[in-house]
Amino acid sequence: MHLLLIEDDAEAARFLAKGLRESGYVVDIASDGREGLFRATEGSYDLIVADRQLPHFDGLSIVAMLRRSGRHTPVLILSALGSVDDRIEGLRAGGDDYLTKPFAFGELLARIEALLRRGSQPEANTRIKVADLELDLLGRKVIRAGKPIDVTSKEFQLLEFLARRVGQVVTRTMLLEAVWDLHFDPQTNVIDVHISRLRAAIDKGFERPLLHTVRGAGYVLRDAV
């Protein structure tokens, strides 16, 4: 996968590129808006990570110009501005996701992965199967190894979000956004309690756990150790 990172802070760009390369991505760096826009329109990238405040063209203008020229490369906008309105503005300009600095690297990695996988997985609309766990999307029912499992509607939403991203790391903020429509981080880790309840519901009493915690990043639903 080929990524373009548009970031004017050289040190941050170096760290991010290094981390991304270690995670298996090919990364090009552009250090200002003009170079970023040039590379984004010339090259064929799978995803663009653009800082919002850049010399020459800012991140939002780059996205807007890309979209106008008919390119639909996913764009993740990084920003030091943190208000809700900034986020809405960023998504409205054509950005696919928005991340406020400073962020944990795991968060960035998880969101990049989510954007890249978006659309590549078939959109299940009746039934999702992960190992012996089955989600009936119409009846809102969970069955594991043939046994029905009681979950609340929010727990079902959580599980569905995870199940649609099997094998992908899902962060706490992604869950807060998707299930509770909250775009800020509460102080306490309220999500952890929900996850442990969900884990108790689907994994307790079964030999192979499906819901795993990824340290420093989030959670993943997968059928392997």
Partner: protein, 458 residues
């Protein structure tokens, strides 16, 4: 305020109309009196004249004089009749003694006579004086008052019209003036609301008429310019500090994470390093959250809701938040109850309102000991939406409540003080203010009750 200036206009209209009425009615009454007295005087003079004639030349002379004057009827409007003891006409311009008139000497009577004018029968009102002459004859001297009556009627009508027109003009002028004043004041109020909403670039309109409104607008605008300048300076300083802090924090975090990733999995020294890096990252999280909250407060206070507003159902939002916190609270030994029976809509920023609810729930989670209860209540009221969160925890002492809403103030015992940024209630209060509400802390005896009443715009 529209009511007050309109009421003023109405009071003035009533007052001026009353004074004009008094003036015009007085003139009318004086005129009527003068006209009546004039007739009485003319009649009396005529009677004296004729009495003199009688004394000088007897009935014949009076009759002769009257005969001479008879043809003047219709020009002067004078009415004469000399009648004998049997009331038979002897001389004068009346063909008979008027019917139904009692002959009382020296009395004024009123009757009507009919006359033919241009082929039609016309009735003329007459006022007359009756005299008994020395020889037993009756003398009736009067005047046709139809002209006077016409004049008075017209004058009366003119008086009424005058009063009506004056009232109308005064009322129109007053209403126009009141409207102009009310419009100007309303315009100022609207501008002030926009400014309070965070748009400090707005100014009161100066229309160049150099009136007292312009003077007021100029003074307020000068004040606003100063406030705006200071705010911009502060905001710029704050933004650059925040930005300058964020970048090193961002790098610090990346470096710590790099160190964490790079350590070999089974090295004892690396394990030690990991034990140091983990808490360092947690501390960093706290610093970053504090910074983010400060920025959120500053932005909320500075920008207002100028950019993004939606229709928010606070009942649904509260349910969502309670749902999010309930498991965590249960794990901490708290029971949370939601009391929001019906949708409660208001216009606002959903994320900020969610932040407000979150902060209040976080506080309850932090301060209420295990076994405690938390109630979240949303109600529609005639004024808007009433929101409250109460608990049966330790509460906040009355003298500490005002301070608790200030930034970086932590109340309660040392353990509680050690956690949190001290910004939770401050941000909640800022969000409330932004939505036209005021966050108040009260006593739930025992416990804390936080009220927030959101007004719905009319």
């Amino acid at each position: 305020m529209r009511v007050s200036s309109a009421r003023l206009a109405l009071v003035y209209t009533a007052l001026i109309t009353f004074l004009t009425s008094v003036l015009l009615v007085t003139v009318y009454l004086l005129t009527r009196n003068a006209l009546e007295r004039e007739i009485a005087a003319v009649v009396r003079a005529e009677v004296e004249d004729l009495t003199d004639e009688l004394r000088l030349g007897g009935v014949e002379r009076v009759a002769a004089t009257l005969r001479l004057r008879t043809d003047s009827w219709g020009r002067t409007g004078a009415v004469f009749l000399l009648a004998d003891q049997e009331f038979r006409p002897v001389a004068g311009n009346l063909s008979a003694w008027p019917r139904d008139i009692d002959p009382v000497p020296a009395s004024m009577v009123e009757f009507e006579i009919s006359a033919r004018e241009r082929g039609a029968e016309v009735l003329h009102p007459v006022e007359a004086r009756i005299e008994r002459l020395e020889n037993g004859y009756w003398l009736l001297v009067g005047a046709d008052t139809s002209e006077r009556k016409t004049v008075l009627r017209r004058f009366g009508l003119a008086t009424l019209w005058g009063i009506g027109l004056t009232a109308l003009c005064v009322w129109l002028l007053g209403a126009a003036f009141a409207r102009r004043t009310a419009r100007r004041v309303r315009e100022y109020a609207t501008t002030c609301e926009t400014i309070m909403g965070g748009d400090l670039t707005q100014r009161l309109r100066v229309d160049g008429s150099n009136d007292e409104f312009d003077a007021l607008a100029n003074a307020v605008n000068a004040m606003l310019a100063t406030i705006e300048r200071q705010t911009i300076t502060l905001r710029a300083a704050f933004d650059s500090i925040a930005h300058d802090l964020r970048t090193p924090l961002y790098r610090l975090r990346v470096r710590l994470e790099e160190a964490q990733l790079r350590r070999p999995a089974d090295d004892a020294a690396a394990q030690d390093a990991d034990e140091l890096i983990g808490p360092a990252l947690e501390e960093l999280d706290r610093v970053q959250r504090t910074l983010a909250t400060l920025l959120a407060i500053a932005r909320a206070e500075a920008q207002g809701l100028t950019t993004h507003r939606d229709d928010v159902d606070l009942a649904a939002l509260a349910a969502n938040m309670v749902e999010l916190y309930a498991p965590g609270m249960r794990a901490a030994g708290l029971e949370v109850t939601l009391d929001a029976p019906e949708p409660a809509h208001l216009t606002g920023n959903r994320q900020l309102l969610a932040q407000l609810v979150t902060n209040l729930l976080e506080n309850a989670l932090k301060y209420v000991p295990a076994g405690g209860r938390v109630w979240v209540r949303v109600r529609n009221t005639p004024e808007g939406v009433a929101f409250s969160v109460k608990d049966n925890g330790p509460g906040i002492a009355p003298d500490e409540r005002a301070a608790a809403l200030q930034p970086f103030v932590r109340v309660g015992d040392a353990a509680a003080r050690a956690t949190g940024s001290g910004l939770g209630l401050n941000l909640a209060a800022a969000v409330a203010r932004l939505h036209g509400a005021q966050l108040t802390l009260g006593d739930n005896s025992p416990g804390l009750i936080v009220h927030c009443d959101f007004p719905t715009p009319r």
